[in-house]
């Protein structure tokens, strides 16, 4: 999936939250979104998940099954955990039986079975967050978007989150996760997307940087964007596109 020159603002008179963002994430890849509070991390994640549409630019090749865990689970709903999760399973296109099975499996794994018939508004913040996590995983996602997934979770479940991320990654899914607590130190090999001043810069993990070479290619300026896109599609990392100095082209 690729965000191409994505700009976003919430209204005509409001400032741009994101300006010219150009990032991509491939299947089996994990990216951690870092940045100060209010810098646009959640906005970026919601763009990736398909909740928001860019004001300018576009999002290409978003996978079909997306799981999104918002920063705060909307617990003000008149359902029990069981009713909520089975309904969300049906929304995701699962049959009634498959939805019940998936609900059973995920609530078991996340330790919320004792609360299955408790109504959502009565849950603690951490348990509600687990329901949000389970809802995103009911159908194995091709893209999992987690907005501060560690918030409010108990120690045992915090340990589970990196395992869940790895499970999705190993199944060929991509994972985008925001974090301001430093919990993502437990995700070695993840790329880092740093959000600041409306732009996103990508840092490749050290393990991937070793043994890499840089190939400089000159193309007509009109074909620069297409070439960069083709190189990215072929799995290469495009470091930058710059104006060529006539003297360096032989």
């Amino acid at each position: 999936m690729r965000l191409e020159d994505v700009w976003l603002r919430y209204g005509r008179r409001t400032p741009w939250v994101l300006r010219g963002v150009d990032v991509e994430i491939s299947p089996g890849e994990v990216a951690v979104v870092l940045g100060r509070n209010g810098v646009g991390k959640s906005t970026l994640l919601q763009l990736a998940a398909g909740v928001l549409r860019p004001t300018r630019g576009r999002v290409r090749d978003r996978p079909r099954v997306v799981g999104w865990v918002p920063e705060r689970f909307p617990a003000d709903q008149p359902f029990t955990i069981r009713q909520y999760l089975t309904s969300m399973g049906r929304l995701r296109g699962l049959s009634a039986a498959a939805s019940r099975d998936a609900t059973g499996a995920w609530t078991e794994r996340l330790g919320v079975v004792p609360y299955l018939d408790v109504r959502l508004p009565e849950l603690s913040k951490g348990t509600a967050q687990k329901v949000g996590l389970a809802a995103a995983l009911l159908r194995p996602p091709d893209l999992l978007v987690l907005d501060e997934p560690w918030e409010g979770l108990d120690a045992a479940t915090r340990e589970q989150v990196p395992l869940l991320i790895r499970q999705v990654r190993d199944g060929g899914g991509a994972v985008l996760v925001s974090d301001h607590r430093g919990e993502t130190a437990r995700l070695p090999g993840a790329r880092q997307w740093s959000v600041a001043d409306g732009t996103v810069s990508v840092t490749v993990p050290e393990s991937e940087r070793e043994g890499m070479a840089v190939v400089e290619v000159a193309v007509p300026a009109t074909r620069a964007a297409d070439t960069a896109a083709a190189l990215r599609a072929a799995g290469h990392q495009v470091l930058r596109v710059r104006q060529a100095d006539p003297s360096e082209i032989g």
Partner: protein
């Protein structure tokens, strides 16, 4: 999509938000039929007109029952902006149809409708058919107005109320007999007038087209306001 329709209807009923418009509808109809008996067409025409704001309010309440974040979760889960939007409108339409059934049955329980007294008056069956048509005509327009006034479209409680009240008042004012711009309003008032006199085929077709076009225009506005979130 139907799973989302069911989930939204269930949420609407379980939160108790379904009660207020139903009670309001019963009060309005109680006042209407408390005054005595009328012919089916005439009574149902007025019933559809007075129910229009109630149905619009009901649609807004239904669409607003779900927290904003849950609406976004539903959108990600169904995987299509179009399906999420249509599921909301469908749920609101089904809720409106329940209210319409109550409105059609109620006058028979309280003796608010009488049959023809002379040979010149329209037969009862014609009055009932036209009454059903009048109510069905009010439904898409009311759902469209309620959707336009919903939080997802206006993103503000104040604007939502302004749109709902403005739309309901506009439907009456612009629908008056000598209105300068009757096409600006859904034809609920015009339908009530037509039913009191017994409409001809041309009037039925014209009013149906006006109601559908008005609803389509308002729903287009709703979809446009929701194009990015």
């Amino acid at each position: 999509m139907f799973a989302l329709v069911r989930m939204r209807l269930t949420g609407f009923v379980r939160t108790g938000r379904a009660l207020a418009p139903l009670i309001a509808g019963l009060v309005v109809l109680g006042v209407l039929y408390g005054g005595g008996q009328a012919q089916a067409g005439e009574a149902y025409g007025v019933s559809a007109a007075v129910l229009f704001p109630v149905l619009a309010w009901q649609a807004k309440l239904l669409l607003d029952a779900e927290p904003d974040v849950q609406r976004r979760l539903a959108l990600v889960a169904v995987g299509s902006r179009y399906r999420e939007l249509v599921a909301g409108l469908l749920a609101a339409t089904l809720a409106a149809l329940v209210t319409v059934v109550v409105a059609l049955v109620l006058p028979w329980l309280v003796g608010g409708i009488r049959g023809p007294r002379s040979a010149g008056e329209a037969p009862l069956s014609e009055g009932i058919t036209l009454g059903v048509w009048a109510h069905l005509l009010a439904v898409p327009a009311a759902v469209a107005l309620g959707a336009l006034a919903s939080r997802a479209a206006t993103r503000s409680t104040t604007y939502g109320i302004v749109v709902l009240v403005g739309g309901a008042v506009g439907a009456v004012v612009m629908g008056l007999k000598n209105s300068v711009a009757p096409w600006l309003a859904p034809p609920v008032m015009a339908t009530a007038r037509a039913l009191s006199g017994g409409p001809d085929g041309v009037a039925v077709v014209t009013l149906t087209l006006q109601a559908l076009l008005w609803s389509a225009a308002v729903l287009t506005g709703y979809a446009w306001l929701r194009r990015r979130w």
